[in-house]
Amino acid sequence: MNERVAIIGIGYTQLRPLSPDVSFREMIYEAAVKAYNDAGIEPKDVDTFVAISEDYNEGTAIFDEYVPDQIGAVLKPVHTITQDAITAISACVMQIKTGIFNIAVLEGHSKASNILYPSHIEAFALDPISIRPLGFNPLFLAGLEMQRFLLERGCNEYHCALVVSKNKKNAMKNPIAAYPGEISISDVLSSNPVSFPLKELDISKRADGAFVIILARESIAKKLSDKPVYIEGIGWCQETPNIEKRDLVNALYLTYAANMAYSQAGIRNPLKEIDFAEIDDTFSYKELQHIEALGISRSGESGNMLEEGYFDFDGELPVNVSGGSLGCGNLYDANGLRGICEAVLQLREEAGERQIPACEIGLVASWKGLPSASGGVLILSNRE
């Protein structure tokens, strides 16, 4: 099938550090109702559903069981993808591209406030034989990677602090953000050390929220939506799960994923051709590392370009105008969905105060989170 796939509806909830008043089902229901209203369809019109979840984060084995009711997917084709959001959206895109399905729905959420000791959960993702017995907190890995990256690429802690300050400031204009703030560079640099050189404010704090995205093939999207946002390129990749074999400098997974997505979208020079980007910033240094992996800057130049304002709201290529994970909160696997929703709002010119003028092409890059090495890249546009 040669038709493109378009996003025709999005729905999301407010992102909050705690959400004791609602269950995950109620959160997802809210997002789903908003998405169906946005797209002007009903659940019965949908052909296939995909959900994102990780059992350990949910505290339930086989979490797939608890997906269908709140998104209107009972007795419908539904399955779960236990990867980051962009790998999951590619499952929707591929299903539509087979030509058998017209409309697909993607659901992802975070109920991170239910997790008592998040690093205990993350430690379960380390190799049970060779790494886990060493008994370290996985944040140690982030510190190790940050140190290596800064050393090799000529960036420093100041640049990382700049990322935090930029993203938290951007989040001030995002009504759904959980952790906006005016934070100075020195606030970040003087925050408590966690795992040298990683500091407390370099780490995005966890938040709860749910997202639902509705996709359709081009011909259907044009009938249903005034402002469909098209998927021009999509890529996803898995690097090695063995932390001892990673080089800790390059985010190879994003480089491979970006090559796949760029070749589909026909992008040669991402810095020039892309109008804005939502890039994973679970840790401050990750934003810089990912910018280099995506080929937006040459290696070793991301820090300087950030300092020169290339990635500011009014810069050459605004990065994380939504506030990113540092400003909006870390939503685990749903981080990428927040990025996609932001990109859709921007491309529909519905982003309010933080609207980037005359934008046509946006990039979303996701990472599965600590201690993984997999991610995806999505290129969206509003061009007919």
């Binding site: 990780e54 086989i62 539904v78 087979t98 058998i100 190799d127 049970p128």
Partner: protein, 392 residues
């Protein structure tokens, strides 16, 4: 209906099924993937994308299990996806691989299913408590045997089926399993109905020999697009139809005597394959049989027998391996005869259909001439049906 790009199965491999494998999950995945690649005559560099499935993370005690298994499955620096529908994952794996290729994005896809249940101590049934609703059901201390005994009892009561008839499924499958080279030690065998019925009661009416065992193992297949296959392979096996449906999480609100989710999934697959009368057009079937009654339950859901008729046909030998008038069901021995490493067991069923269609099933080859076969798996809280139809 629009017909997508055709997808072929060009290779399959599986490890021996074991109670306690010394290999790690990664190694099991590697062994199966390597065998599938050898069977297809390909190298890992010829593979464009990798799909991996495995049931709950809690079995291995590994968070992000997809990530953990990725290098064993051969996914280093490749597009990699782990899909998940609980116990139905095994058959869903091939569906996931199917849409990778049918979408036109990839030419080849390696599909790996792995399960290592022995890591959970003392017994994986403990993990199954964590699949229930956190507030309403989990505090009751229930496990899977309990929910199955409810369903089995309901199925038997509605259709007035004697326990002895259901035991015949175990007799048939455990006998078929004797010819499977990968069968778990001590699981297949020549049993009588009395031995099955009189074995230890796990949770009435389920007895020990009506339950599939705890198993470690892996299975893998290689899928390819029509263009890729045309140049290299003679008479490959094609994927003709796929279907999957998920029912409500509130299993207490359903009548358990009939698996309507399997029926919906089957109808989706039959529509795609253009099958009007499945009883004539399906020549061999591998329904999911983690418990003896489940095979009959699923055969009815697959519309291969009327409601309540599957046990009667069983008594007449309609589902036997060497039947000429019936439809051979679980010629591999199924989960009761070969073993049940959850996700890998589903893919084992798909592989059996592939071998039957290729005429490579050895002693297990059915007597009937087969041109089209169906594999089905079931999972979650009696909730999901996954179906694939393969044909020559």
């Amino acid at each position: 209906m629009h017909f997508p790009q055709k997808v072929a199965v060009i290779g399959a491999g599986m490890t021996k099924f074991m109670r306690r494998a010394k290999e790690t999950g990664k190694e099991l995945a590697f062994l199966a993937a390597k065998m599938a690649l050898l069977d297809a005559g390909l190298e890992i560099d010829d593979i464009d994308a990798v799909v991996c499935v495995s049931a709950p993370d809690a079995f291995d005690g590994v968070h992000m299990k997809g990530e953990y298994l990725s290098d064993g499955a051969g996914a280093f620096c490749k597009p990699y996806m782990r899909s998940y529908v609980g116990g139905g994952s095994g058959v869903f794996a091939i569906i996931n691989g199917w849409y990778h290729i049918a979408s036109g994005y990839f030419k080849t896809c390696l599909v790996v299913a792995e399960e290592k249940m022995s890591s959970s101590m003392p017994h994986p049934q403990g993990i199954f408590n964590a699949i229930y609703d956190q507030f309403l059901e989990r505090p009751l201390g229930v496990n899977l045997l309990w929910i199955f005994s409810l369903e089995m009892n309901r199925y038997m009561s509605v259709h007035k089926i004697p326990l002895e008839t259901i035991a015949l499924v175990a007799v048939k499958n455990k006998k078929n399993g004797l010819d499977h080279p990968c069968a778990q030690e001590g699981i297949p065998g020549n049993y009588t109905v009395e031995e099955i019925v009189n074995s230890e009661i796990m949770c009435w009416p389920v007895t020990r020999l009506m339950v599939s065992p705890v198993t470690d193992g892996a299975a893998a297949i290689v899928l390819a697009s029509e263009d890729f296959v045309k140049k290299r392979y003679k008479d490959p096996v094609w994927i003709e139809g796929v279907g999957w449906h998920l029912d409500t999480s509130y299993w207490t609100n359903r009548d358990l005597y009939y698996p309507r989710y399997v029926e919906y999934a089957a109808r989706m697959a039959y529509d795609m394959a253009g099958i009007k009368d499945p009883r004539k057009e399906i020549h061999v079937v591998e329904p999911y049989d983690p418990f003896a009654y489940k095979e009959l339950h699923h055969l009815e859901g697959l519309l291969l027998a009327d409601k309540g008729e599957a046990p009667k046909l069983l008594e007449k030998g309609f589902w036997d391996r060497d039947t000429l008038n019936g439809i051979p069901s679980s010629p591999s021995g199924g989960l009761l005869g070969v073993g049940n490493p959850i996700a890998a067991a589903g893919l084992m069923k798909v592989i059996e259909i592939y071998w039957q269609l290729k005429g490579m099933a050895g002693k297990r080859q059915v007597k009937k001439e087969v041109k089209r076969g169906l594999a089905q798996a079931w999972g979650d809280l009696m909730q999901v049906g996954t179906v694939v139809i393969l044909g020559k």
